[in-house]
């Protein structure tokens, strides 16, 4: 093996094997989505599947949600570190969810990892990640901006064996189930995750059987090199230079801000993101764990440089990230991280801002992140406890050549909404309004995307709501003279005498029967001066109230 280098590899074989691995990861995803129980995985596809080489480098990834792009980086190495290669036997399967210990980017994402054996040695790993709707913690849905420690966010699982030599580790399974408010769903979803890995292991074994260990590994290594080269070529088209950007997430108390600062250095086909002067980690769960930072950076870089590049460790190598331990973008345990997907939208804007300076023709203004709200209480129709976890999209920032998209999840976040006719059927809530939020996008040559407005009327007696958001204080910035997007708002009983603004993050606010919660999500920033907007677009804005 040492005599051959990956540069001697046939680029065609390499593509063929890569396609095979991607197809395998797609098969795993199809299995996972087909057999999963909860709507979050089945319908929204909040899951990803991947294949790793024996060293834990990602070689193929079928992702539905960009947040998962970096979620599995380093996961296999954690397993190897903990168990040692010799401590892993065929039929073992590992599970982890702790962002600080081999898990994903927040506790509800559970990773399940399997070794692939061939000729009595480990030749690869397969893994999948799925978002579980509840894994315990202080709030239903296991996500709330007000959590001040990861211990409040749910059960923490380091890499442990869920299957031992092909047999389910029922004891562990039972511990997990007892910790969830919705154990039936967990059973179905975890079984689906196990089934997906079985499919992946079988398929990867076949590949090694066809080409042999030496040849297969060499070709996979070459494939990563080819991908690295491709991304590196894209970076080389941008002149070397250094760019800086600053933006703010909300702090621990209403009105406080916490700074994210990035310096991007572009140097001969490499990107270096340096966050070292970003603020220290905060108490509440807006902190962004390392893998979520990677996911966001990979997502935005891919969008700017090469949207169709295959996701694997090859292109990850061209991107270096520096972040001091104990900061918002590299928190240490027990910092709470549950709401990282909202803060990641702001981080995404910071990354987009430095790339915009480097690549003005791909410019992207600031975006309005989704707002997150969780209703819970007793459903008077069924007398049972319910948890309604929902996200409502904001608006995307404008680009240098078109308006920002209205009402979309931005950057690395991506789950879809729940149909109103479905939610009214199962929860004691009535939606009285669900529309684009007029004029919420920044104005400019190209306007920012519009946010959304939605009113919920409460139809139960003990209902509470938990709220999480960003950009209620710091708007999505416009660029080159473009206006900022409107900030978001939570409003209690709008247009009533007792109307009041609710905090941007809160837990378990009482919502009496008949009261209304209005959610207004933030719009995106604009690009360029309003005076440069085309007459046709101005006319359409007027006619369509945009």
């Amino acid at each position: 093996m040492n005599n051959l280098s990956s540069t001697d590899i046939d680029p065609i074989k390499s593509e063929v094997i890569a396609r095979y691995l991607v197809a395998t990861s797609e098969e795993m995803a199809a299995t996972l989505m087909r057999t999963a129980f909860s709507p979050n995985i089945k319908e929204r596809g909040d899951c990803s599947t991947a294949i790793f080489d024996r060293n834990g480098e990602i070689t193929a990834l079928a992702h539905r949600i960009p947040m998962h792009l970096g979620s599995m980086v380093g996961v296999v190495s954690e397993v190897i570190k903990r168990f040692g290669i010799s401590g892993i036997q065929p039929g073992d399967m590992f599970m982890a969810n702790d962002p600080y210990n081999g898990g994903g980017t927040h506790l509800p994402d559970i990773n399940v990892i399997s070794p692939v054996f061939f000729d009595n040695e480990i030749v690869a790993f397969v893994a999948n990640i799925a978002h579980h709707a509840d894994i315990g913690g202080m709030v239903p849905g296991s996500e709330a901006a007000v959590c001040t420690s990861i211990f409040q966010e749910g059960i923490r699982i380091p890499p442990v064996r869920i299957m031992i030599a092909g047999k389910l580790n029922q004891d562990l399974f039972d511990v997990l189930l007892l910790n969830s408010r919705t154990p039936e769903e967990r059973v179905g979803d975890l079984k689906a995750q196990i089934a997906a890995n079985h499919v992946g292991v079988k398929s990867v074994e076949l590949l090694f059987k066809k080409y042999g260990i030496i040849q297969t590994e060499l070709i996979i290594k070459a494939y990563l090199d080819f991908t690295e080269k491709r991304f590196s070529e894209a970076i080389k088209k941008i002149p070397n230079g250094t760019f800086e950007a600053t933006d703010y997430i909300d702090g621990d108390n209403d009105g406080e801000l916490a700074k994210i600062f990035a310096k991007l250095t572009i140097e001969d086909g490499k990107l270096i993101f340096d966050f070292t002067t970003t603020d220290r980690q905060i108490k509440t769960s807006r902190n962004i764990p390392h893998r979520a930072v990677l996911a966001t950076i990979y997502t935005v870089c891919q969008s700017f440089l090469d949207p169709s590049i295959p996701a694997n460790a090859g292109y990850y190598r061209t991107i270096q990230t520096l972040a001091s331990l104990g900061t918002i973008v590299n928190p240490v345990s027990p910092a709470a991280v549950g709401c990282r997907s909202v803060s990641c939208a702001v981080l995404g804007d910071v990354v987009a801002s430095v790339l915009t300076q480097a690549m003005p023709n791909k410019a992207l203004a600031g975006s309005g992140p989704h707002h997150l709200f969780i209703f819970s209480g007793t459903n008077p129709k069924t007398d049972s406890f319910f948890v309604d976890y929902e996200t409502l999209a904001g608006g995307m920032g404008a680009r240098s050549n078109h308006d920002g998209m209205d009402a979309v999840r931005v950057h690395a976040s991506g789950a879809s909404n729940l149909p109103i006719e479905a939610l009214e059927h199962v929860y004691p809530l009535r939606v009285e309004r669900y529309e684009l939020r007029n004029y919420s996008g920044g104005t400019g040559e190209f306007r920012g995307g519009m946010g959304v407005i939605r009113d919920y009327r409460i139809l139960g007696d003990d209902i509470v709501v938990s709220l999480s958001s960003e950009r209620q204080n710091q708007p999505a910035a416009g660029i080159l003279g473009g206006g900022h997007g409107a900030t978001g708002q939570f409003i209690y009983n709008p247009d009533q005498p007792d109307e009041r603004k609710l905090p941007s993050a809160a837990s378990e606010i009482n919502m009496p029967r008949g009261s209304v919660l209005r959610i207004c999500t933030p719009g995106g920033g604009a690009y360029g001066e309003s005076s440069d907007r085309s007459d046709g677009s101005k006319e359409k804005d007027l006619l369509e109230r945009r």
Partner: protein, 683 residues
Amino acid sequence: MSAILIGIDTGGTFTDVVLCDLSSNYYTYFKLPTSTGKPSQAVLDGIKGILELSNLPSNRVEFLVLGTTLGTNAVLEGKCSNTGMITTTGFGDILELARQRKPHTFNLDILKPTPIVKRDCRMEVSERIDYEGKELLPLNEEEVIQAVAVLRTKNVEAVAICMMHSYANPTHEKRAAEILKEIWPEVYVCVSSEIMPEFREFERFSTTAVNASLMPIMDRYLVEFEAGVVDMGIQIQPRVMQSNGGAVTPKAVRLAPVNTFFSGPSGGVIGAIGLGEQVGIHDLITFDMGGTSTDVCLIKDGVPVKKDLREIAGFPVRTRTIDIHTIGAGGGSIAWVDAGGLLKVGPMSAGAYPGPVAYGRGGTKATVTDANVILGRLNPKSILGGRMEIFPELAKNAIKDHLVPALKVNLERAASGILEIINVNMMGAVRVISIEQGIDARDFTLLAFGGAGPLHAADVALNMGIKHVLIPPRPGLLSAIGLLHADICGDFSVTRLVKADSQNIDYINKGFNELHARGKAWLDSEIGSTSDAQFVWNIDVRYFGQNSELSLPIEDSCLDENKLNLLLEQYHINHTEFYGYAMRDQVIEIVNLRLMVRALRTHPPVERFKSSNTELDKSVVESRQVWFFDYGYVQTKIYERNLLPLNCEFNGPAIIEQMDTTTVVPPQFRVKNDEFGFLHLYL
């Protein structure tokens, strides 16, 4: 006087017409370019042409069925009619809010599609129904009248009426439609609770809006088509193929043009089922590879997998379709080298024009077809039975100039690499559709058709361990032939979102009665009677809390406690079979009730190939060097398919050429030409 059957398949480039004369079981085929001007012209010219060619009188035509891409193309090309909407106050933007996702995860320049109904044409009126169908706020009729007045000023041709929870109580929608029709009788109207009375507002509104916008276009087209058919002296009512594989009258299509989105490819699948019946094979995977795309579909026990939600040009459309999985790769897919140095094939295509380099029509980028020419698989002199000259040198130069230097491999390796990559893509598609259905593809027969299907099928089968490949006599015409096999078939559904317990039985049965009435009325208008029709009932069920359903067959449309219990038991069993587990303590919920009405037709006999030749050697037209995986170049016999004796067997390697396609038989396969002239390739 014996009947004539005619099928017309309108494709993007060509329209194929097939005629079967039942008195002689003789088939006639006719091909003409699809006109770009008046869309009905090629269809009418085709019918006239084939009647002249076969020298048969038009009054003997007893069944005429059209596969059309008119609706699909109008949506894909953004040429829908100007459409308005009347909806519930507070919900005017449902069409735009969609699922709140970017269309592409990473490419931010792929924007959300422009909604079918523009924002200023979406009128809100006060009214509200709740999820149980209870009226919370009466319909404000004055506001409806005002909305109509505004829409008239906007020059819309069609109006979609879409109100919240109308599947549970359609009275507000119906009343709004009445008012609309009364004051504006000439406008086209589509009501959401009539076209698709199922819950999930975005999908229902989208389906309704897309349908409304196509009604004027489809109506104008059908007026011309029907008039032309009458002018020719054809006395029966023509029919149109729907996405569900059933043929219906123009009247039904005018009301629901969305049902034609997969009209053409459905013909291929229905044709495949018909052929399978003939040769006794009922578990099939269809592999229809053309110039720009490839369609695959799974058929189990003679029944194609169906799907209820499709997306077209980014718009979800909820309508029952045969589950045809399309990948954007075909014979015309272009090979290129990415910045990292890897060989890629597609998704760009050389299209119909200029097409592959080897066609000599100015194409410069090497395609899959060019690789097949260079490797001796496609005839290097001419194709289409000698009608089209081939220029292999041009193809070689294209690969030498654009691919060889970047890949640092020789010509042969570059060309074979293109095939290897396209085949692995095809394999991925077949694997995904099998895994989605939880079946092992190796137990199925791969039925190859389309211009390029038989060129690649055996390699795909070889890679996947599929042991049997079947190639029908006329692979290029299967979609048109399939139209002749269409039954009369309509699908109906209604949402009944309730717990599956005995106190809801009356409510569920009322839903069945509604469906029965709708199905019966439809049949009356389609075939004038219900005597021979089958009523097939299904009920969509899920565990409470789940978001996707399994559809279970039930015997009749009258549920009682006993039948309900049997149904629930069956659900646990099916869930275990399909998903690997059951949750017996979980509450079960009814979601939708479904009815398929079907009037079976007598299907025409499959055309038998005749061969005057009885000696295999006489069907060998030449011998040339052909490249095969794992073997490289092998001196290979080239057979003329028309000359192959029936009931003969021989071993690969072989190339079998015919007018509309070329079949590649790798050395690992044995070939059998059966008594009907079907080619079987056995691994």
